[in-house]
């Protein structure tokens, strides 16, 4: 018996559509979120992540509806992030069918939000999304906000340590340098964050070759998130699982239908 590596397709949703770009710009349409979620569920995804990148209130309402419709037909865990600012926002998402939420900008602005959410719903619902990039900060990694466009002037490792102490249950570490490039996860960043945290770590940003996935696991990731390689058919989920399985990593057998 051992815990499987989780393969997590990520759906960046705006105004009811999945989009994907490179380094968070030049977004192109990648499909209908509910259909894609159902497909990934059938193909053996271990979990799904929706990141709401809508700028408008109407866009967020649409995403809430997407979450509701996805939860109707997919019986695997669903994490939703983007625009969460309060305990009330979390409550609405959980009632719509989310199992976990991820927070980012609002927690940087007001770190107590982490403890407020963890106290009410438990740490296990709360994923800290860290959009980090290489910089001249103390550890060499800094936190960004607003989809990587602005520096938060916070050292990434110091932020992870603080957030863990406040009660996050998991870390989604997204490399803004690698995002959408398919040039590989930022291994140095994963290693550094793993060294200062004891909660599960999801590697994100840069997945391209199959060997990128195992490299992130070797650096200490517990779960692997990817978007464009799945959306654009470069790999099927089962390709990743077969590759990892043949290299002696524990994966959940997926039907691969």
């Amino acid at each position: 018996m051992s815990l499987s590596v989780r393969i997590i397709p990520c759906l960046d949703v705006t105004d009811g559509r999945v989009v994907k770009g490179v380094n968070f710009t030049n977004l192109v349409d990648a499909g209908d979120p509910v259909e894609m979620a159902a497909l990934y569920g059938r193909e053996g995804a271990d979990e799904l992540t929706f990141l709401d990148i809508s700028a408008s209130v109407a866009g967020r309402e649409t995403t809430l509806d997407v979450v509701r419709r996805t939860a109707e037909q997919v019986f695997i865990p669903l994490t939703v992030g983007g625009g969460i600012r309060s305990v009330g926002d979390v409550d609405r998402l959980l009632r719509a069918g989310a199992d976990k939420v991820s927070i980012n900008t609002a927690a940087i602005a007001r770190p107590e939000l982490i403890a407020e959410i963890a106290d009410r719903f438990g740490s296990q619902v709360l994923v800290l999304s860290v959009d980090a990039r290489r910089a001249r900060s103390e550890s060499g990694f800094e936190v960004t906000t607003h989809g990587g466009r602005e520096s938060a002037n916070i050292d990434a490792l110091a932020w992870v340590e603080k957030a863990c102490a406040l009660g996050v249950g998991e870390i989604l570490l997204n490399s803004m340098d690698a995002d959408g490039t398919r040039a590989g996860y930022d291994i140095g960043m994963i290693t550094a964050v793993r060294a200062v945290s004891k909660v599960p770590l999801i590697a994100s940003g840069g997945a391209g070759a199959l060997s990128d996935f195992s490299a992130a696991l070797d650096a200490g990731a517990d779960a692997l998130l990817a978007a464009s390689v799945f959306h654009f058919g470069i790999h099927r989920i089962n390709d990743v699982k077969s590759y990892l399985n043949s290299h002696n990593y524990c994966v959940r057998a997926s039907a691969g239908k």
């Binding site: 499987s4 979990e47 019986f75 069918g97 106290d119 909660v199 599960p200």
Partner: protein, 197 residues
């Protein structure tokens, strides 16, 4: 009809959908009489043990659980809904549970917590719940668990140390994992339970 107990905790919507997929009528309720009379009662739960006990007491769940067992009416506890059936938990202090099983729920000794993700299970040949899905993985999200043998049939898993993944004890069944989030294997397990009612 299956009742899912609403005491302010849990992914009630997910649970409702998954149990409805077994073909049974499902209601989400905090009403005492409905919870008492249902063919099967599901006690879901996410969050902290103490907060869940407060919520359970607000809907007289201790009485519902003990009376249902006395009158031979099945119960299924999920995650915290399993843990509260034990006599106590050491999560953030010592808290008293419903006490169906006299054992303690304590933190898993593991390098990474919570235990989050899909894990396999060492099932018993006597298990009804795992019939046909003995070798599948199920989705866990928890940091605390019971580690002593209780009830008639036990299934085990490992994260850092060995712990009880499920207990089948006559009219009371419980799973530490989330069958409602465990894909087809979870739906099959739920169906095994609803068909046993």
């Amino acid at each position: 009809m299956i009742a899912i107990l609403d005491y302010g905790s849990g992914n009630l919507r997910s649970a409702q959908r998954a149990f409805a997929a077994s073909g049974k009528d499902v209601v989400v309720t905090s009403h005492y009489d409905i919870a008492m009379e249902a063919e099967g009662l599901v006690i879901p739960g996410v969050g902290a043990f103490a907060a869940c006990m407060v919520g359970l007491d607000s809907v007289k769940a201790r009485t519902i659980i003990t009376e249902r067992i006395k009158s031979e009416r099945p119960i299924l506890g999920i995650c915290i809904g399993m843990q509260i059936l034990f006599s106590k938990s050491t999560e953030h202090g010592i808290h008293e549970g419903v006490g169906i099983w006299d054992a303690e729920v304590s933190q898993l000794q593991a390098p990474i917590l919570p235990h989050m993700g899909w894990n396999t299970i060492e099932t018993s040949a006597d298990s009804i719940l795992f019939k046909g899905v003995e070798n599948e993985s199920f989705y866990f999200v928890h940091s605390y668990a019971a580690k002593e043998k209780v009830g008639k049939v036990q299934s085990w898993s490992i994260h850092g140390e060995r712990f009880l993944a499920a207990v089948e004890d006559g009219y009371v069944c419980a799973t530490q994992f989330h069958p409602e989030k465990s894909g087809d294997a979870g739906l099959a397990l739920i169906k095994n339970w609803t068909q046993s009612l």
